[in-house]
Each structure stands twice: as structure tokens, then as C-alpha cells.
């Protein structure tokens, strides 16, 4: 059963730039897929289309059977509550502690406070930041901020985890750690899509790799 399905999807921006051109593919439930390609190949756009941050110009994007391109704006939040997003630029809030940052998705869904605290601690423990829970994220290193972002993306146990260049600015050892984290989420049943431009990193894992160039499959 497919979790994510693209049917002849094109995304063009004003000015006629086509970020994605007539792309069709599927990602099965529980699968882990890598997105490879140079910057500008359309990796970020593809991930944004899945999360409904961007809408397809033509074609359909189906997520768990739902047609994302046809969703009303008011329905998008409920789609996103089932998706974990790891952003290239982290999007961490520096006006609150590490703990409060990870708490945010649970607040949005409206989790019971006690249960939330347990989950936040579990997520922070998983990424190795439990000891920093009271710290302000401004004091975290780049790698730590990335892991904080991952903790926030998985704390509500989403069905899908999307990560946009999570290893972009990290050294190899650190990158391997992060990839290992994604694999462990995948092992408990989460569908994972990770984009990166470093294919050597992906090769180690033996997962399917979707290669993009100029918005199309690279040949």
C-alpha cells in the first residue's frame, strides 16, 4: 500500500520556472526513501508538496489516500499533524527552552500535559538532548539544533517523516548519527523521506534512492 503517491505532478512558479516536471512515483507505507540531487533539482519542492506547503500546479499528490492538492486550507493542519517535518533551516524558536520547542506539536494537537511531558522527554532522550532540556536552543551547536528539530518532528509519532537536507552542514560522523536516527524511526514503521545531496551517505543504507535533476528523474 502506498503512503505517498505522485501522479504526473508539475509545480511551476510564477515566471514559468518548473520546479517539478510531470513526476510520478510511489512511496510505500513503512518505506524509507532517499531523495538525491543537486540543489535546485526540486527536492525541497517535492517535500513541500507532500506536506501541503506548496500545491501542485497540475497532477495529484496523494498522502495516505488523501488528495493533498485538493485539500481546503482549513484541512491542511490535520494533514500536517500526521507528518513530521525536519527543516533545512531548523525553524527552532529561540524564545523558549529546548523542552518547550519539542512540546509545541503536542500543544497544537492538544495532548494531555502529563502524557506530553513523558513524550517530550522520550523524544529528547532519543536524540541525545535530554540533559539540555532546560537550555535555550541558541546555545546548541548546529548538529544539536538539527537533532532538536528531529525530536520536534517525531514527538507526536507521525506516520510520515520528511527531512529536507538534514545533514546539509554537518560533518560525516555527525551525518551518520542522524541517518541512523532516521533509520531507527523507519524500523518502528514510520514512512521516511530524506533528501540529501551526498549520495555516498545514502549508499551505505541500501534504501531506494530517487534521483532528481531539474525537476525530473535523473537518468
Amino acid at each position: 500500500m502506498s503512503m505517498i503517491q505522485f501522479d504526473q505532478v508539475t509545480k511551476s512558479y510564477p515566471g514559468g520556472i518548473e520546479a517539478i516536471k510531470n513526476l510520478s512515483f510511489r512511496v510505500n507505507k513503512g518505506e524509507m526513501v532517499f531523495l538525491a540531487g543537486h540543489s535546485g533539482a526540486g527536492k525541497s519542492t517535492l517535500l513541500k508538496l507532500i506536506a501541503g506547503i506548496e500545491r501542485a500546479t497540475t497532477g495529484n499528490v496523494l498522502v495516505n489516500g488523501q488528495n493533498v492538492s485538493a485539500l481546503r486550507a482549513a484541512q491542511l493542519p490535520y494533514l500536517r499533524q500526521h507528518i513530521g517535518l525536519v527543516f533545512q533551516d531548523h525553524k527552532i524558536l529561540f524564545d523558549r527552552s529546548v523542552f518547550e520547542n519539542v512540546m509545541l506539536p503536542l500543544d497544537i494537537i492538544g495532548f494531555d500535559r502529563k502524557e506530553s511531558v513523558k513524550r517530550v522527554r522520550a523524544a529528547l532522550d532519543k536524540v541525545g538532548l535530554l540533559k539540555r532540556e532546560k537550555a535555550n536552543p541558541i546555545g546548541l551547536s548546529g548538529g544539536e539544533q538539527q537533532r532538536l528539530c528531529i525530536a520536534r518532528a517525531v514527538v507526536h509519532r507521525p506516520a510520515i517523516l520528511l527531512a529536507d537536507e538534514p545533514t546539509g552542514n554537518l560533518d560525516r560522523a555527525y551525518s551518520l548519527d542522524i541517518m541512523e536516527l532516521f533509520r531507527s524511526f523507519n524500523q518502528v514503521g514510520v514512512t521516511v523521506v530524506v533528501s540529501a545531496h551526498d549520495e555516498i551517505l545514502m549508499a551505505d543504507y541500501g534504501q531506494r534512492i530517487i534521483r532528481l535533476a531539474h525537476g525530473q528523474f535523473a537518468t
Binding site: 506536506a51 506547503i53 486550507a73 482549513a74 493542519p77 490535520y78 494533514l79 500536517r80 499533524q81 507528518i83 517535518l85 527543516f87 525553524k91 524558536l93 524564545d95 509545541l104 506539536p105 500543544d107 497544537i108 494537537i109 492538544g110 494531555d112 520536534r152 518532528a153
Partner: protein
Amino acid sequence: MNHLLYLHARAARQAALTLLRQPLGSLLSLLMLALALSLPLGLYLTVQSLANWGSRLATTPQITLFMEAAADSTDLQATAQTLKQHALVAHSQFVPRDEALKALMARNKLEGLTEGLGENPLPDAFVITPKDMPPEALERLHKELSGLTMVESAQFDAGWAKKLFSLIQLGQQLTVVLACVFGGALVLITFNTIRLQVLARRDEIEVSKLIGATNSFIRRPFMYYALYQGALAALLAWAGSMWLIAMANPAIAELARLYNEGAALRPLSLSEGGLLLLVAGVLTTLGARLATGQLLRQMEAD
């Protein structure tokens, strides 16, 4: 349902924390709101007190018929009969001239006056309470009664009552206009306050939206904040009006005593206070709803 209640409780708590965490900013906008409420409120209370006092004086106007000195008991009886059967007269009371003199002397402590006067100078009189009617009809009744046979004159001081009534009416209209203007101000002040708050938390709102926050989730704390401010401002204005009344009433009572009247500004009743709270809360929440709506649309367009 429970879930929604839980989300509301959380937003209400968050709004309360915001209020307490920014005491100065909250206080300033609170004072602004309270001022905007105080002006129409003060005018309302003044006009209401005046209307109350005026109606006590003038809603049951009386017409006094003074009979001619030559009127004998048959004339008096005929007049009494006419008044009794008159459709517009609710009640009439005959005041014989002797009694009128006695009452006059008793009221003014003028014992021994009769000796000086020799004869009772007062005429027989009827005190008439007309039925409820507009001032113009009262005027017509007054004219009709003065035309009765053997009636010397009919006294009815309607002029000042009419002036008072039109003044009160003007005051009431002014209150409505002022209430509308300052109600609008309430919405605008809150709109501005909430707009600044939303802009200050733009990053948080953008991230929240990316990870699945609905617009109502984002709006809720701001709307609760506005509601608190509105309610607090209403309470402040209410308390302020009570303080002003307490300050002003001794002077008003003093002034009224000079005219042999008891007059006082009345405070807001409990139900009026409740209404004030409700209206202030609704208007400020409306301001917050408009501000968040506008900014969320703007963010979606970006």
C-alpha cells in the same frame, strides 16, 4: 468536545500568562480601554439619574383648579361631577378653602395670620391627577379645564417639565452616539494591541502553522487576551464610576437641598454592570478576531 474544551482552557491560561508577563503593556492598553468605556458610561449615569429625578417630579403632573370666590356649593358639586366623569382625569380631590388655609399656616408656621387677614383669601380648589398622556395632550386638558364655568384659573406648570424632558432626551441620544463612537474605539484599540502582539510572535505562528496548527488554535490565545482586557477595562470603568459618584454625591445632595429636593447620582445596577462587561468583552474579542484574521490571511499570502 472535551478536547475542544481542553484546548480552550489551555488558550485561556496562556492568555492569562501573557497578561501577567507584560504588566506594563497590558496595563497601558487596559487604561486606554477603560477610558474609552468611562466617557459614555459617565454620561449614561448622569442622564439616567437626571431622568429618574425628572420623572419623579413630572411623570404625574397635577393640575390645580382654583374656583371663583362666588362659586357656591352647587357649582362645586357640578364641577366635581364633571371632573369625575371626565375621561382624561384619573383622580380629583376637592380642597376646601378653610383646609387650604390651615395647611398653609401649618406648613409655614404662620399661626396668628388669620387675625391679620380677617377673611380667608384662598379660593376653593380641585387637585387633579390626569391620566398618563403626552405633554401636548396635557396642555389641551389644561386649556379645557380652565374653560369650565366658575373656574377662576387652572394652574399647570408644564413648561419646565417639557424642557427637562427634551434635555433628558437629548442626553439619551448623545449617550447612544457616544457609546457607538467609543465602542468603535474599543474595537480599534484592541485591533492595534493584538496586531502588535501577533507581529511580535510571527516566527512562532509561522512554525506552528507548518507543523499543523489550525487558524483557530493560533487565534485563541489572542482572543482570550482581548476578552480579559475588555472585561478588566469594564470592571475598571465600573469601579471608576462608583468612585466618581461617591465623590460627587455629597455636593449634589447639598445643591439639591437648596431646592428642597433629594437628588443623587445612582451607581450602575448589577445587571447594567453585567451588560457593560458583556459588551466590552464582545467588542474587544471582535477587535482581536479582526486583527488575527487579517494577519493570518496576510501570512498565507506571503
